[in-house]
């Protein structure tokens, strides 16, 4: 590594005042004798101060509300903890779950499942549902689903609507389907949203 690369790599630590005394001394000596690094440090200090000023400016324009902490604290109450369960239930019962999901959801703009998903397939959220709480208990249900059903809940799928695919459905605590992971080798098509 050249001295200049080493010096520029120390930019952040220099600003944070995190450099050891010997490092800081080396840096000062190098910068004093290197016009390129001197210019780079000057540019950096200018941009750095502008960045911080921009955050402060936006904060001045929209000051934080008073009482946010007082509003938050009472909401922090213990909720019962349940373990995540993976169950395999018969296709007929599973179909009822996703059918309920279809019935409950508004018709939403279609979402594309990307053509090249990394293996193994990932869960893809059903579009425009309220976000699943990361701590929420979920159930994974494996089932066979008609492509037409996937299309109905908002996915864009370039496949025969009558085709049956094997999938796993992530069901939230309210019993509604939240996401689907297709296990079959199916031709998803489209450009994404």
């Amino acid at each position: 590594m050249t001295d200049c690369a080493r010096a520029l790599g120390m930019l952040a630590q220099f600003v944070d005042n995190d450099l050891a005394r010997e490092q800081a001394a080396w840096l000062k000596t190098h910068v004093a004798g290197c016009a390129g690094c001197r210019a780079a440090f000057a540019d950096f200090e200018k941009i750095d101060s502008q960045l911080i000023a921009s955050g402060q400016y936006l904060e001045r324009q929209s000051p934080p509300p008073a009482g946010a902490r007082a509003e938050l604290a009472p909401k922090m109450v213990t909720v019962p903890v349940r373990r995540q369960v993976t169950r395999w239930i018969p296709a007929a019962a599973a179909a009822a779950v996703i059918a309920a999901a279809v019935g409950l959801m508004p018709i939403a703009p279609r979402r594309t499942l990307h053509a090249v998903d990394p293996a193994p397939a990932r869960f893809v959220r059903i579009p425009y549902l309220p976000p699943l709480d990361p701590q929420e208990n979920t159930t994974i249900v494996r089932m066979d689903i008609r492509v037409a059903t996937l299309i109905a809940v908002g996915y864009r799928v370039a496949a025969d609507p009558e085709q049956i695919v094997s999938a796993e459905v992530l069901v939230g605590e309210d019993g509604r389907a939240q996401a689907v992971r297709v296990l079959s080798d199916i031709d998803w098509n489209g450009t994404g949203d």
Partner: protein
């Protein structure tokens, strides 16, 4: 970060109640997190909603003894995810675009500053934010987190990269911004 605490979650090694701990994190991170969210283009209302949701989730996370390896980064990630979901939601339209966020405000919030001063500030900020928006993702995140007033050591932690790598990242981002703004 307060004395004797680290960003990796060891803060609560001698923790009492999850609620108290979550509120301590709130006290420490609310302002930088809010500035960060505003800098990403969130409206003040969405930023405040995101903060409430994030710290409620943090409380649950602590209560359930979730992973504490990088709570600092966890908080920013959860807030980012919340905003992303809000932006995707067809039911909510309050989030504004980056350029809009940079120029909004109407009048000066600081009574000590005159309208010309604020207009100048607004224009400068707008140009800077537009330039930041063009950076590659990791450089952009780094600059946005710096706008929030975080130290580079903390930024490295949130981004999950080594502190030394931030130097290189910062240098590249700075060079691009200088060129863009010149």
């Amino acid at each position: 970060m307060a004395d004797g605490e680290t960003a990796d979650g060891t803060k609560a090694a001698a923790s009492d109640e999850p609620r108290e701990e979550a509120l301590r994190w709130f006290d420490e991170l609310r302002d930088p997190l809010r500035r960060y969210l505003l800098c990403t283009g969130a409206s003040a209302a969405d930023a405040d909603d995101a903060i409430q949701e994030t710290f409620l989730k943090l409380y649950r996370h602590l209560e359930r003894k979730g992973d504490r390896s990088n709570l600092y980064g966890w908080v920013f990630q959860v807030a980012r995810n919340y905003l992303r979901d809000v932006r995707r939601s067809a039911r909510r339209q309050r989030t504004v675009q980056l350029d809009e966020a940079m120029t909004r405000g109407g009048g000066p919030a600081d009574p000590q500053l005159g309208p010309e001063h604020c207009a100048l500030d607004g224009e400068r900020v707008r140009r800077l934010r537009a330039a930041v928006a063009k950076l590659p993702e990791q450089q952009r995140e780094c600059m946005l987190l710096r706008s929030a007033g975080l130290r580079y050591r903390e930024i490295a932690e949130i981004l999950g990269i080594h502190t030394a790598s931030v130097g290189t990242l910062v240098h590249r981002a700075t060079a691009r911004l200088t060129e863009e703004l010149s």
